[in-house]
């Protein structure tokens, strides 16, 4: 007997669903139509009906579909497989219990336009989550409507715009002058993009050699009188706590502006310090980071906004409110009568499925567990920072919070750069860290382990990084050619961008095009 070895493992070479399609295959069955059929022409005239018979849409059996998606899924790295140390992304464990909660039929099957009296449980979930987020941030006004971090940013800076317009008057010269949103050069790109969408002009604040916001530059920029506000991430994108935060807020407030905090890095602060106590006016939280709702390969996210009482009238509508009946018992409702609101930022009430998961996270941890998670996350980052301190260049000396920053400075002599180190990490079984961000640090490697990893695996990561550093000196080609263990090698992104192919087309048409 002999075995013929396939040249490529079938599970490693799964085609596109369109290429797998076979006419006549079916992966579904519906009940037979149980009403008298109307002649199609009486339903809809021919000119309103499709003519293409959905040509090209796949025809597959159920096992075909399951195999297809299972096979391609195995080409993904994921949190459940191991450490996923993307800085500023907070890739923590996504609890199965939270998934179960989100699928309870009373929630998953609830229509958003159901009458409020028949949706009390869902409204209670949202109201309770709002209360907890207000406590965690120290900011009492909360809207769960924004669908993602950037969406929350947009909402927050639009609230600043609306507040200033209400305070200064829309037509006054003051309103015309206050157009400048200050953003540190280390900020995430969504900050300037969101500020621009909200009608602000962006001015960049420099960072100090310590990796902190340059207070002198901040004062200088504020002196112009045009400052509407500041967008600040804290801990900042270098993983360092802005220890002058109170002074920063004071300077902005004295200049007549408001402070927006990007809450991407809240996993460093929950239970330890509250943005509201620092002087921050409005913040967005990433439920998909700090509160463990799954990243899902790039969404769905959820980006609630929390703000001071002063800013609360400007939050998006509808608001979820509670009214206490006499003699106990509460009812929950939706309130759209907020004339100063920035308006709606999304249909319905936000990514409710994520609200459920985040509330489950908060209740599972309890008050002590929330702080414990923060401590464990910062401790893990410190462990890595300590373990790699002698091997990789650290651009800033300040002690890291929940993530630590290194560069490729010591490795570049042999031509090994951050990208190569990242790709080589894949060969050691780890997902790479965030690379080339923040932009102000050349060759940046931003590492965030989160609390969801044990010390043995942290040590393995440290060992892998040290080994790569050794290879960078002794065997640079191995690093430069990495990864070596994946299904495919490094892809030619330049060619992909020059002649973009963004969809599948049938072979004959593709050839003719």
């Amino acid at each position: 007997m002999s075995i013929t070895k396939a040249t490529t493992h079938v599970t490693q070479n799964e085609a596109l669903v369109f290429e797998r399609s076979q006419a006549g295959r079916r992966g579904y069955r519906l009940p037979a139509l149980d009403v008298e059929e109307t002649a199609i022409d009486d339903l809809l005239p021919a000119e309103l009906r499709r003519e293409d018979d959905l040509e090209g849409v796949p025809e597959l059996s159920e096992p075909d579909v399951v195999r297809h998606f299972t096979r391609i899924s195995t080409w993904n790295y994921n949190i459940d497989l191991g450490l996923y140390p993307l800085g500023s992304c907070t890739m923590k464990y996504n609890s199965r219990l939270n998934e179960r909660v989100a699928r309870i039929p009373g929630f998953a099957g609830l229509h958003p336009l159901a009458p409020e009296e028949d949706a009390q449980g869902a409204l209670e979930v949202m109201y309770e989550l709002q209360q907890h987020l207000a406590e965690i941030t120290g900011l009492p006004g909360v809207s769960l409507q924004p669908a993602a971090g950037a969406h929350g940013e947009m909402t927050g800076v639009m609230m600043i715009r609306a507040f200033l317009d209400a305070r200064d008057g829309v037509t006054s010269d003051e309103a015309k002058r206050r157009k400048v949103m200050l953003i540190p050069d280390s900020a995430h790109g969504t900050n300037p993009a969101s500020a621009h969408l909200s009608g602000f002009t962006v001015k960049t604040i420099r960072s100090t050699p310590e990796g902190l916001t340059d207070l002198d530059h901040l004062r200088e920029l504020c002196a112009s009188g045009a400052v509407a506000g500041l967008m600040l991430t804290n801990p900042n994108t270098c993983g360092i706590f802005e220890r002058n935060i109170k002074e920063i807020c004071r300077v902005i407030h004295e200049a007549g502006g408001l402070v927006y905090m990007d809450g991407a890095n809240m996993n460093a602060l929950v239970g330890v310090a509250r943005p509201g106590d620092m002087g921050v006016d409005v913040i967005h939280l990433n439920l998909h980071k700090t509160f463990s709702t799954p990243h899902g390969g790039g969404g769905p996210g959820s980006g609630p906004c929390c703000c001071t009482a002063e800013l609360e009238p400007f939050l998006p509508v509808p608001r979820v409110v509670r009214s206490d009946a006499e003699g106990g018992g509460a009812t929950y409702g939706l309130d759209s009568e907020r004339p100063q609101s920035v308006g709606r930022v999304k249909a319905f009430y936000g990514n409710f499925g994520m609200h459920l998961r985040a509330l489950a996270y908060i209740l599972t941890h309890g008050r002590d567990g929330l702080r414990e998670a923060t401590e464990a996350a910062v401790l893990n980052a410190r462990f890595i920072a300590h373990g790699l301190a002698d091997t990789f260049d650290r651009p800033f000396d300040s002690p890291p919070m929940h993530e630590c920053l290194f560069t490729d400075k010591r490795q570049t002599r042999k031509g090994v750069h951050t990208l190569d180190i990242a790709k080589r990490l894949i060969d050691y079984g780890f997902h790479p860290m965030t690379i080339y961000f923040p932009l102000i640090v050349q060759g940046a490697m931003l590492i965030e382990p989160t609390e969801s990893v044990g010390r043995a695996e942290l040590q393995q990561f440290v060992d892998a990084m040290k080994e790569i550093a050794r290879e960078a000196v002794e065997d640079a080609d191995t690093v430069l050619g990495a990864p070596h263990t994946t299904r495919i090698g490094r892809l030619d992104e330049a060619a992909a961008a020059r002649k973009p192919v963004l969809r599948w087309r049938p072979a004959e048409k593709a050839a003719g095009a």
Partner: protein, 129 residues
């Protein structure tokens, strides 16, 4: 070391200008293409548009960066290198030849005097290292 041919004018924004009579030809320098990396897209204006010196006339994109393009000397665009639409890599492979971007009818020959010579530009990029 980046190639800096003699006989061209250079700007500190890393564009070059070749002057032939009233016509100026514009592109980006070898140094610029080297720091950008693989060019994947060049956005250029249409013939007939007029720009002043130092105006933004387009942008050049690599996979992960965008740079604005500044006109070294003002004038009306007479011709655009349409072949860059399909083959933007020409900017990398032959920045002073097939990778040219615009031809301009110069509105003021005097503006050329404020540009750098090859030697001056070479010193300038040396100072950036």
């Amino acid at each position: 070391m980046a190639n800096v041919p003699e006989g061209l004018y250079y700007s500190k924004d890393h564009e070059w200008l070749r002057v032939e009579g009233e016509t100026g030809t514009v592109g980006i320098t070898d140094h610029a293409q080297g720091s950008l990396g693989d060019v994947v897209y060049v956005e250029l204006p249409k013939a007939g548009e007029t720009f002043a010196a130092h105006d933004t006339f387009g942008s050049v994109e690599s996979v992960k960066a965008v740079s604005e393009l500044f006109l070294p000397a003002g004038g009306e665009v007479t011709e655009v290198n349409e072949s860059l639409n399909d083959e933007p890599e020409k900017v990398n492979n032959d920045p002073y030849g097939e990778g040219w971007m615009l031809r301009v009818r110069l509105s003021n020959r005097g503006e050329v005097d404020s540009l750098l010579s090859a030697a001056e530009y070479e010193d300038y990029i040396g100072s950036l290292e």
